[in-house]
């Protein structure tokens, strides 16, 4: 007899829906999470804890990645790649190693994919160098689960008809929008002038209490990067795992790091081998295993899990595990609302911290502009205020225009001016990170973590088309900032991956030769192993992934329920 019906590895957005749905159905579920189990009583608005020390992510000296970055072209025209450990570069690729995963620290910008995102290849045609495919499921397959997320996780918003609006099965969101900052009105006015469609960004943040544990947002103004103290943010922990544990059928084992999945001669997984907080190794058997460690670590775990039928790693008999990793392409920028140019009344309103900006643009989700070229997939622009973290901001101000260190009165004057004389409005562009042969996860042959296990090596090549789309959208965002009257408008579009927006690496499909998972997110040749984080996505869409990961994990839960 197995230790559990279902063993879930990881506890973030891909794990929570599976744990909740199966535990509520009466199955015995065990969640193995590498990080600690913090509750809402442990989350405070503390910049040191959130962002300046390794509290929610591992110390890079103990656990690191190796990044393979572009290093020019060789004489034969091929790209060269240079490897560097993140412990040496400081470029941290961990995202929330705690119960609930990185969903604890998201900003909760929630967008659905659009029907065309499920058939990018047939909709827009091939792009040389990009491994585009259509998905084996359609938007209609996922729509009921998007709706389920709105209700169960809690999404606040207001539906606005829009040329590119995706179909909905309900007329509106279950919770009204969160309270909005005065900047939202300035964005609306600018968009009206420009004839752009300013959209209210849905958020996985409750605008009203739904239980004693999940209260309304408290509008502290510190959301993204911070854990939520009111339960309003729809993290996997708060919105789903707590429900799962409440059934009495789900146990969460924190500080338990799975090093590999064992499998038998038939190819089925038999046990998860994990190390607990005391360094003791255990094996946990289950009927079904669900891997949800976020894209990079999921690929790593599968590659580490060799077995009689999986000599190259679980599900890797066709060499597909780790391939076609995607991030979110795009860029970001700022414009400053300078107080002395504004009325005192408006300045007072601008200084208010707490309400959300909640504005985005999807006018160019599909680009139909001769100046750009052929009709193409575009993306999403989101607007927000500069992140409130003060130490980080001050630290960026210590350099003068010649990149020399500033100190003394000159430094203090600069701090005072930057902090008190303007408000920075930020934009972020989300567009597809095209899957290519130059972005993938493998195991580093030399570097190991503190348990002696090979770490993930991540090649982070991007497609030049991503930059072209990102720049197009960034220029549109700058038009809005200009129309708002902001000054010092600046932006950056690059191929540098945002490490918190990972997907792919175990794409789903019908052909085992070109995909790791079947359309149900089950490993083709390991029928009791599912992957339910964002790894299944063959293409990423042009929005943050979390809502889609949640929705698909609810779908996977239904599939597992039928299989058990």
């Amino acid at each position: 007899m197995s230790d559990a019906d279902v063993c879930i590895i990881g506890s973030g957005a891909g794990a929570g829906p599976v744990a909740r749905q199966l535990a509520q159905a009466g199955f015995n579920v065990v969640v193995l999470e590498k990080g600690p189990h913090f509750t809402q009583q442990d989350y405070y608005k503390d910049e040191l804890a959130c962002c300046l020390r390794s509290v929610y992510t591992p110390n890079l000296r103990n656990e690191r990645h190796v990044i393979e970055d572009y290093a020019g072209k060789a004489a034969d025209g091929h790209y060269k790649w240079s490897s560097q450990s993140t412990a040496d570069s400081g470029w941290d690729f961990w995202n929330g190693n705690v119960v609930g995963g990185s969903s604890n620290f998201m900003s909760g910008f929630f967008y659905r994919l659009k029907p065309q995102d499920f058939r990018l290849l047939s909709e827009f045609g091939p792009i040389a160098g990009a491994n585009l495919v259509d998905w084996p499921i359609s938007y209609e397959d996922l729509e009921p689960y998007y709706t389920m997320v709105e209700q169960v996780v809690g999404v606040s918003g207001h539906f606005q008809p829009h040329p590119f609006a995706e179909p909905r099965s309900t007329p509106d969101f279950p919770y009204p929008p969160t309270t909005e900052h005065v900047v939202s009105r300035l964005i609306d006015d600018a968009c009206t002038k420009l004839q752009f469609h300013s959209l209210r960004t849905p958020r996985a943040i409750l605008s009203q209490a739904i239980s004693p544990q999940r209260r309304s947002c408290e509008y502290s103004g510190y959301c993204g990067s911070y854990g939520c103290a009111s339960g309003a943010k729809g993290s996997s922990r708060e919105a789903l795992l707590n429900d799962a544990v409440h059934t009495g059928h789900c146990r969460i084992l924190a500080k338990c790091k799975v090093n590999r999945l064992l499998s038998d001669s038939s190819g089925k997984a038999t046990a998860a081998e994990y190390v607990d907080a005391h360094g003791v190794t255990h094996q946990l058997s289950a009927r079904i295993f669900v891997v949800a460690c976020q894209a990079v670590e999921t690929a790593r775990l599968l590659l580490l899990s060799t077995g009689p039928k999986h000599p190259q790693g679980l599900g890797n008999n066709h060499g597909q595990v780790g391939r076609n990793l995607v991030f979110s392409a795009g860029g970001s920028g700022y414009g400053d609302l300078v107080y002395h140019e504004l009325t005192p009344q408006l300045v007072e309103q601008l200084k208010l911290r707490g309400p959300f900006v909640n504005r985005g643009l999807q006018d160019w989700y599909f680009i139909d502009d001769k100046q750009f070229g052929a009709r193409a997939k575009g993306g999403t622009i989101d607007f927000l205020l500069r992140h409130p973290n003060a130490v980080n901001r001050a630290n960026q101000l210590k350099w003068d225009n010649q990149d020399k260190l500033l100190w003394g009165s000159a430094l203090k004057q600069k701090l005072k001016k930057e902090f008190t004389e303007s408000l920075s409005v930020r934009y972020e562009v989300f567009c597809d990170w095209l899957p290519t042969d130059d972005c993938f996860v493998s195991l580093d042959p030399k570097v190991k973590d503190k348990w002696g296990v090979p770490v993930a090596k991540i090649r982070i090549g991007y497609h030049d088309h991503d930059l072209k789309v990102g720049q197009y959208l960034s220029d549109k965002a700058k038009q809005v900032l200009q129309a708002m009257g902001t000054k010092n408008i600046r932006g950056d579009v690059s191929g540098s991956p945002p490490q918190n927006l990972q997907a792919g690496g175990c794409r789903f499909g019908k052909d085992p030769a070109t995909s790791v998972l079947d359309p149900q997110c089950r490993i083709h040749d390991a029928p009791n192993v599912f992957v339910s984080d964002g790894s299944w996505m063959p293409t990423g869409g042009s929005v943050p992934y979390t809502w889609t990961i949640y929705a698909n994990a609810f779908r996977v839960a239904d599939i597992i329920k039928r299989q058990l």
Binding site: G90, G221, L411, L415, K416
Partner: protein
């Protein structure tokens, strides 16, 4: 560049520089041991000049008692002076905060050594140029020395570390011992979030 600064640069390998850069760039350090040790306490008077000592230059015996904090305090005061525009380094407990960081058990030992060694390099340069340790130099001389050391790779990184921890002392929650009564927040009109961390839920209590 002064020969001492060339020597300081030469004392570090490219790999050591790269590691310093990484630690300057990233979210770093675990503070496991502080749970038992408690958080920042102000430096005891024996480790800093007392008010009545400030106008006198300490003799060698007193110097050995108060270094490296005597030099750190003087450098921090030069970096973040009392100029009528907001709090100065002393007003945000910058030296005590730096000691708190350097004492933290999981502070990267290489960073700790680099920061502490910098005091010696700076004072050797100060004596070579102005025949006095940094803290005993005139304000103009101090500024020249700081400009001097930024011409070296090591010196620029050393000052970067000190500035970083001044900003932490200025703008992190007062529960950590800097920013007393939110003086830094008030000066920069920074609105902190809530709930703020209580004394039993500082970040090292969570580890």
């Amino acid at each position: 560049m002064h020969r001492l600064l060339k020597q300081w640069d030469a004392s570090l390998t490219p790999a050591q520089f790269a590691k310093l850069d990484a630690n300057l760039a990233r979210r770093e350090f675990l503070f496991d041991g502080l749970k038992a040790a408690g958080a920042l306490t102000l430096l005891p008077a024996t480790m800093l000049l007392t008010a009545c000592e400030e106008d006198r230059k300490p003799d060698q015996a007193r110097l050995s008692q108060i270094e490296p904090w005597y030099t750190f305090a003087a450098v921090q005061q030069q970096l973040f002076p009392d100029d009528g525009n907001g709090p100065d380094a002393r007003g945000i407990n910058a030296t005590s905060y730096l000691k708190f960081v350097l004492d933290a058990p999981d502070t990267d030992p290489d960073d700790r050594k680099f920061i502490l060694d910098g005091v010696d390099w700076l004072n050797r340069l100060a004596i070579a140029r102005f025949k006095a340790v940094f803290a005993n130099c005139e304000p103009v001389e101090k500024d020249k020395l700081l400009h001097n050391i930024t011409s070296s790779d090591a010196g620029e990184r050393w000052l970067s570390f000190l500035l970083r921890y001044i900003f932490e002392a200025l703008l992190t929650d007062p529960v950590y011992g800097g920013n007393p009564n939110g003086v830094g927040w008030k000066w920069l009109q920074h609105i902190p979030g809530f709930p703020r961390p209580p004394a039993n839920k500082r970040y090292f209590d969570l580890l």
